[in-house]
């Protein structure tokens, strides 16, 4: 249990940043409709690989539930984060050609180069943001705007999330 405490602190920190900082920055409505950075999927993406899938799913649901309660998502956050928990092994394999089952994630993430790690994080954030924004509008009426929102938000999330990832690797995994 003790060895996972760093993951708990990391998760709480990410949730704190997401809820109290990223969702409260007043960047203007005209910008906010195009860019809504979401880094909370990192909690699921950076979980240890030795964990069974069932625990990853539970963590994803709890994270999404907290987000829903905190930001009034009414199930939207949980519904869009759960699929990321399920496809995480395939995403990692597709983007890095390395299997999660073959090794512990701490070692695996350490052995990935910057490009591979960024591809994995970016692909997962893109899938999550696509699901999230589509579920939010439930329409393909303005598909260009929807695509732009997804892409710009993913880029912004990746930009902010990348610092979290590097910090996590250097402060948690390298220990």
């Amino acid at each position: 249990m003790y060895k996972y405490m760093s993951y708990v602190w990391m998760s709480l920190a990410v949730l704190f940043v997401q809820i109290f900082i990223l969702d409260n920055i007043n960047i203007g409505a005209s910008v906010a409709i195009w860019m809504r950075p979401m880094i909370f999927p990192l909690i699921v993406l950076l979980l240890p690989t030795e964990w069974k899938m069932i625990w990853v799913i539970v963590v994803a649901y709890v994270t999404g539930y907290i987000m829903d309660i905190s930001l009034g998502g009414e199930g939207l956050y949980a519904a869009t984060l759960l699929p990321i928990a399920v496809i995480r092994p395939w995403l990692l394999y597709l983007t890095t050609h390395r299997s999660l089952e073959a090794d512990g994630q701490s070692h695996l993430l350490l052995r990935l180069n910057v490009r591979q790690l960024m591809t994995y994080i970016a692909a997962a954030l893109l899938v999550h943001h696509a699901l999230f924004f589509f579920m939010e509008v439930l329409s393909f009426g303005d598909v260009v705007r929807l695509m732009l929102t997804i892409v710009l938000s993913t880029l912004m999330s990746l930009l902010i999330g990348w610092f979290v990832v590097r910090l996590f690797i250097s402060k948690v995994l390298v220990k």
Binding site: V58, Y61, E74, G75, A79, V86, L138
Partner: protein
């Protein structure tokens, strides 16, 4: 039971995922009228699409039975079509008989028949008609084409078929009549010499006839009405005793191509026959 537990143990992750995802989606779907309407519309559309696919698959597997049903239906319709074609053909034949009938044929009854089979390359040729005793066919009825060209006489009948002895049978014999330019009738005998299917012989023609090539010879018989043409004189000759002409007659009807025919019944044929027998006594 053990297998069931094992099965659930294998898929419990999927079940848990579906359960949690379902809870979250339900929570989101019921959060506002907009999401409720939108998600309901989407699920209805997806349900409809799946239902459509299932229906297509069911339809695909029901195709053999449908094919068998259609084949049966085609067979039934084909039978009806053939039946109707026969009725129409019969009506057309009857109309042929009506067309061939004229006022001077008051003592004759006309009916139509179709040739079932025929021969034309033997010495004793026959024609089989598709009407028999069951259709009021009788022996000694005359047979002609709808154009009133002589074909032959009925020689025997079964229930559904009749045999006709045509002109091109070496046993055939009937009376003939030449009509000259001043409407005088001169009688002769018509027979066949088995040399050509397109020609017959006219013999015992009076020397008083102003005979010429191209003259028309009609049938002269109590079994046939007036105006039934045998053919035209192609060549003629006088016998050595200088007492009669004999002529080679080009037949009006092509015996190898006869199809629909008119069968002629003389109403008074039996009466005439009795009269002749009484006279011979």
């Amino acid at each position: 039971m053990h297998r069931l537990v094992e099965f659930f143990r294998r898929i419990y992750v999927v079940l848990i995922f579906l359960l949690l995802e379902g809870i979250a989606l339900w929570q989101y779907a019921t959060s506002s009228p907009y999401t409720e309407a939108k998600i309901f519309a989407r699920t209805t559309a997806i349900g409809g699409a799946i239902s459509g696919m299932v229906s297509d698959v069911e339809h695909f597997f029901s195709l053999p039975e449908e094919n068998r049903r259609l084949t049966r239906r085609v067979a039934e319709l084909e039978a009806v079509r053939v039946q109707e074609e026969e009725i129409i053909a019969s009506m057309m034949l009857d109309s042929l008989a009506l067309k061939a009938y004229s006022e001077q044929d008051a003592n004759f009854r006309f009916s139509a028949a179709r040739v079932s089979s025929s021969t034309s390359n033997r010495k004793r040729n026959y024609i089989i008609l598709d009407r028999g005793a069951g259709d009021c066919m009788k022996v000694n009825m005359g047979v002609m084409t709808p154009e009133r060209y002589m074909v032959g006489y009925v020689t025997s009948c079964s229930e559904h078929y009749s045999v006709v002895e045509p002109i091109i049978n070496d046993k055939f014999s009937t009376g003939g009549r030449l009509i000259d330019s001043v409407a005088n009738n001169f009688y002769c005998s018509i027979t066949w010499d088995a040399k050509s299917r397109y020609h017959a012989l006219a013999s015992d023609i009076s020397v008083n006839v102003d005979i010429a090539e191209g003259m028309t010879i009609e049938v002269s018989s109590e079994r046939m009405p007036r105006g039934v043409v045998v053919g035209t004189i192609e060549s003629y000759d006088i016998n050595s005793a200088q007492t009669a002409y004999s002529a080679r007659v080009k037949l009006a009807a092509d015996m190898s191509a006869v199809d629909n025919v008119i069968v002629v019944e003389s109403v008074h044929y039996d009466e005439i026959g009795t009269l002749i027998k009484d006279d011979e006594k």
